[in-house]
Structures are given as C-alpha cells and as structure tokens.
Amino acid sequence: MSQVAIKNLDITFGSNRVIQNLDLQIEPGEFLVLLGASGCGKSTLLNAVAGLTDVAGGQIWIGENNVTWAEPKDRGIGMVFQSYALYPRMTVEQNMSFGLEMARHPKAEIRERVARAASMLQLKPLMQRRPAELSGGQRQRVAIGRALVRDADVYLFDEPLSNLDAKLRTELRVELKKLHAELGATMIYVTHDQVEALTLANRIAVMQGGVIQQLASPDEIYRRPVNRFVAGFVGSPGMNFIEGELQLRDGKVDLKTARGNLDVTRYPFAERPEDGRKVTLGLRPEHLQPEPEEGWCPASLTVSVYESMGADALLCGELSGATVSVKLPSDWSPIPPAGARVTMWYDASKVSIFDAVTESRL
C-alpha cells in the first residue's frame, strides 16, 4: 500500500507533447481509474508510472521513493495488459514465477507465492498449460496472477478487460473489485469503458488531450461534471445538450431557446447568472420524466422514435430545438406515436449548465 504522486509531468513523443504539466496524487489503497477516449494520454500516463515510457520533465513518486528514472522492476509495481502479454512459450506456472525468478527469490518462496496467487484466482488446475490452451478469461486471470505474485505496492491495469466478451467482462470486473477489497493495494486502472470506471473506482480521472479534466468520485463525475466534455463522455445513452441563452426576469431564470423557454431557476449556480449569457443545458436521459414531482418544470417533447431496450425504453424526439433521448420504464404506456407532442418534467436542481464558449460548468 503506497501512495503515488505525479508532479509536473511532461511526456513528449518526438515534437508531440502528449502530456503537459500533469499533477496527480493517488492515496494509499485507492482504486483510481483513468478514463478517456483512445489517444487521450491515459495509457501513456500509466506507462510512465510503470517506467515503460521515458518522461521529459517532472517527477513520479511511489511511496517514499522518487522513481522517475528507476527501472520498471525496481518500482514495486505489478501490471496487467490488455493483450494479456503472457509469455507464449512458458506454462502458466512459469509465467507467474518468471518475475520472482528474475529477482532471485529462493525456489521454495517462489513456489509458495505462486501457489497462493493461483488459489486466489482459481488457477490451480491450469498451472501446467500454455497460454494458447487457455480461454480469454483464463488468460486474463493468469495475467492478473502474474502481477499478484510480485506482492507489489501498486498495481497497474491497462484496459485489462477490453479484449473479453461482455459477459466475462462483467464477471472479471466483480472479481477485480473483490481483489481490491482483499488486498487493499493501490490500483491504477486505465479504461475507455465508463461502466468499468463508474463501478470500480474510488475516484475517476477523466482525461482528454493529455489533461485531466476532472478528478472526483464516480457519483460526483456523473452528477456534477465540470465541463461539457466530461458530461458528454460519461453516461450512456449520452447527456442531452440544449443550446440557448440565460434570461433573468422577475427573480426567475430561464433558458431561452429558439423554441420556447425552459425554467432553470432552481439550478445551483456557482456564480450569479447574467442575463444574455450563451450557455448549454445538459439533461441526462433519466432526468426527463413523464410524471411531475414537487418543484419540477415542464418541457414539450415532439416524439420521433420509441426503442424498447428490455428493462427500460428510450424515447427519442425534439425538445426546444435539440435532439434528445428520454429514458422511461419499459412498462410505461401508452407509447406515443411518432409526431405526437408530450409534456416531460425535469428537476432543474439536478441538471448541468455549461458556458457555451468555455464549456465549463456554471
């Protein structure tokens, strides 16, 4: 259990500055997820922590040590890769012992530690097999096992579940969560999958363009995204955005759009709203509901498509000049025909409002 601290980190590939002046502090025992689209710098950052990418500037600390220039093996880390990266010509057992063997641990200790990791991950019956003789899920468990035997302070995961099918991914996700609880080790986990991020993380760092956009708990990220990028990236189906400008009349605040006004008086503005400011209103699909509750505001939706998704359903249409989707319980009826106008309700205290130019939350 160690903390990881990244200070003023710069990473360049040729003339390309991939990561610029990045600061990040990860607490001991924390499960931190780096979330972002491909090319956002999240894997580069992870590789830098592992010592697999040279940094151009700044420092990386693990525990009490400045490991900026240390060899990967000396950093006290274990790492799991998307492609599993199992040594193909070695058995499962050899794969797991390789690192300990390199570190010249006594044979008996190697056997003991490998056996412990193997029983933790139910790998016992597979020990003499080669990677080619394993299924995808088994391979990834071996890869996790290989990281575990190192008894590391910090475990790094580089999209470990991306190559698995949906069902296995869910299973292994749960296993990882249990593992974290059991070991209590610090874990840094890179993914582009927001479900993994939301379910696994203590804190999520949403990255774009080599910059951490928001670092917060999953709840906070989901409920109060700091800018339009984070709002759009997290959540599925994605957040609905409606363009307009603020209108202050008689102590009421409205969003004035091309097609009518939406009441946002109850929105907890961080600064005093100014009249005429161009903004974007963000409404999650589940924030629009057919039945009102105390204090909710109405909005008119012109229906275009109804999609059943099993547990719930999606109603798509036009609302104040924007294309939006609404999440409904699947047993909701009657299903409105295309072209019908329906009144939907929303709680203005739960929406997000971003400046149209800077895209940051107001």
């Binding site: 590789n47 592992a50 010592g51 697999l52 060899e71 990967p72 093996k73 880390i77 274990g78 790492m79 890769f81 998307q82 492609s83 599993y84 990266a85 199992l86 040594y87 193909p88 010509r89 070695m90 390789f98 690192g99 390199m102 570190a103 890869a143 290989r146 190192r150 580089d158």
Partner: protein, 299 residues
C-alpha cells in the same frame, strides 16, 4: 426481346453435368507450363546418365539406352576444376565449411539487432535500419575493391574467415528486415511485461523473445543457406584459391575445359551443385516462399 424464356420451365434439382471445357483447358495450360519448367531438369538428368557416345549420337531429350553413373563419379572425383583434377569433392567440402558460419553468424546478428531495434528502440535505430535497407539495393561492385583492401589489412582475405565476413556484411540488411518485421508484429505488451518482471536486455532476449522466434529463424536459415550455397561472386573473389566454393569450381569444370567437352560430366556436376538448395527447397517449400515474400515486403 427474344421469345425464348429466360428460365427453363422444367429446371429442377442439380444442374445437368456437362463437359467443362474451361477446366480442361486450364489443366492443359498448367501441365504444358510445368513441362516447360521441368524440361531443363530432365535434360540435365538424362545427359548426366549417358556416356559421351550416346550424348553425341542421340537426342538431348532421350532417356539413355544404358544409364550409368560413370559421369557422376568422375564429376565428383576426377573432373578438372582448374589446375587440379580431383572433381567437385573439394568444392563441396569448401562450400560446407563456408556455409555453416555464414548462416549462423548473420542469423544471430540479425536476430539480436532486430530485437534491439524493435523493442528497445535505441536512439538512431531508425537511421541504422534505413541505412542498411538501402544497402539491399546497391550493386555489390561498388563495395568490392575497398572491401578486398580492408579485409586483407586485417588478415581476412583469401580465407574462410574472409568469405564468412563478406557473407555476413551483405546478409545483414535482409536478415535485419526479416527479424525486425517479425518482432514488430509481436505485441509490445509482452516486452513491457518482461521489463516489469525484471528481465534485462539479454534475459528478455533469451527467455522471452528467442523461444518465440522459431518460425522466423527457420525462414532466415533457409534463405541464407540457399543464398550462401548459390553464391558465386563472393566465393570467387574472397574465398581464396584453396577454398573456392562448389559454384566456382563447377563453372571452372565447364567453362575452362580444354579439349573434348564432356557434357555428361558437366551436367552431373551441375546437378551435384544444385542438389543442396533443391533438397532444402523441396523439404521446406512453404518456408522458402515465406522467405522470398518477406524479402519483398518493404519495412
């Protein structure tokens, strides 16, 4: 519009069998082409089995009335390969002595260099790779004279060491191309995992990379065995008169022969020289093709 119906009204079940002229022509073409390609081989074999009387009187196509291995025996033991008349035996041994180190050294060098370039990405690596690749296209004549001088100044001219050095120098680009491309196709994550497990440069090479290199080593060895065995130019210049490889001695048997030409002996000698690469080729067809195809792929 014609009045003929587009679809026969009674069509049902499998299509009636009909003689497929197209297929027949296809196979005829292929067989004719195969015959043309095999023709020189046939002539070589039949001629080598005849005596000179039969060679002079009969047709080169004909199978000998009394096949004999006399010509093979004299090609192996007594044909004149220049000043001496001891057959191709010596050349065969020379070729073997040249072959073994001239295959092992470039393959090992190509593997290590390719590994370093693909995984460790040292500074200047791309420049080295690009520079050596250009060497693939440059005519040997530009290098030869200075190379003779350089090698003789370090005592590597006119002996086995010299010819091995030359083969190593000129095999480097293609070996590097083969290994680098192969290693570039391996997942980088594997190398990263090994780094985290604490492997150093040589440990990762020996324990992780080398065990995965069997296919490309086979391809490289086949390519280099046929290349070295078939070499004529380097053997002629760098091996020295005591170490002339089989190809050079074969050419001597035929083109410096004085007096009556013994065509049967010449053909026997030719087959003997071609035998090693042909055997390698017939037993490794698929790998051989991979080798030449890999040489064709640009880096």
């Amino acid at each position: 519009m014609s009045s003929r119906p587009l679809f026969p009204a009674h069509a049902e079940g499998p299509r009636p069998a009909r003689l497929n002229l197209g297929r027949l022509a296809l196979y005829l073409c292929l067989i004719a082409a195969a015959a043309a390609f095999l023709f020189p081989l046939w002539v070589m074999v039949t001629t080598s089995l005849k005596d000179m009387e039969a060679v002079r009187s009969g047709s080169i196509f004909g199978w000998p009335a009394q096949p004999s291995l006399e010509a093979w025996k004299s090609a192996w033991t007594s044909a004149c390969t220049g000043l001496t008349c001891e057959g191709l035996r010596g050349g065969f041994v020379n070729s073997l002595l040249i072959l073994v180190p001239s295959v092992a050294l470039p393959v090992a060098l190509g593997a290590v260099t390719g590994y370093a370039l693909s995984f460790w990405r040292p500074r200047g690596g791309k420049l080295l790779f690009g520079g050596l690749l250009i060497g693939l296209f440059i005519p040997y004549q530009v290098f030869i004279y200075p190379l003779v001088r350089i090698l003789s100044s370090v005592g590597l001219y006119g002996n086995i060491g010299g010819i091995v050095a030359v083969h190593t120098i000129f095999a480097m680009p293609i070996m590097l191309l083969l290994f680098r491309n192969y290693y570039a196709s391996l997942p980088m994550d594997l190398f990263k995992a090994a780094r985290i497990d604490g492997g150093g440069f040589w440990t990762i090479f020996r324990r992780v990379v080398l065990p995965m290199s069997a296919p490309i080593i086979v391809v490289a060895v086949i390519l280099q065995v046929t290349g070295v065995w078939n070499d004529f130019l380097f053997g002629l210049i760098f091996a020295g008169s005591d170490n002339l490889p089989m190809t050079v001695q074969l050419n001597n048997i035929v083109n410096s022969a004085r007096g009556a030409q013994e065509y049967n002996v010449q053909m026997a000698a030719t087959i003997l020289t071609a035998l090693v690469p042909l055997i390698v080729y017939f037993f490794s067809g698929r790998w051989f093709v991979r080798g030449i195809a890999a040489g064709a792929v640009k880096g």
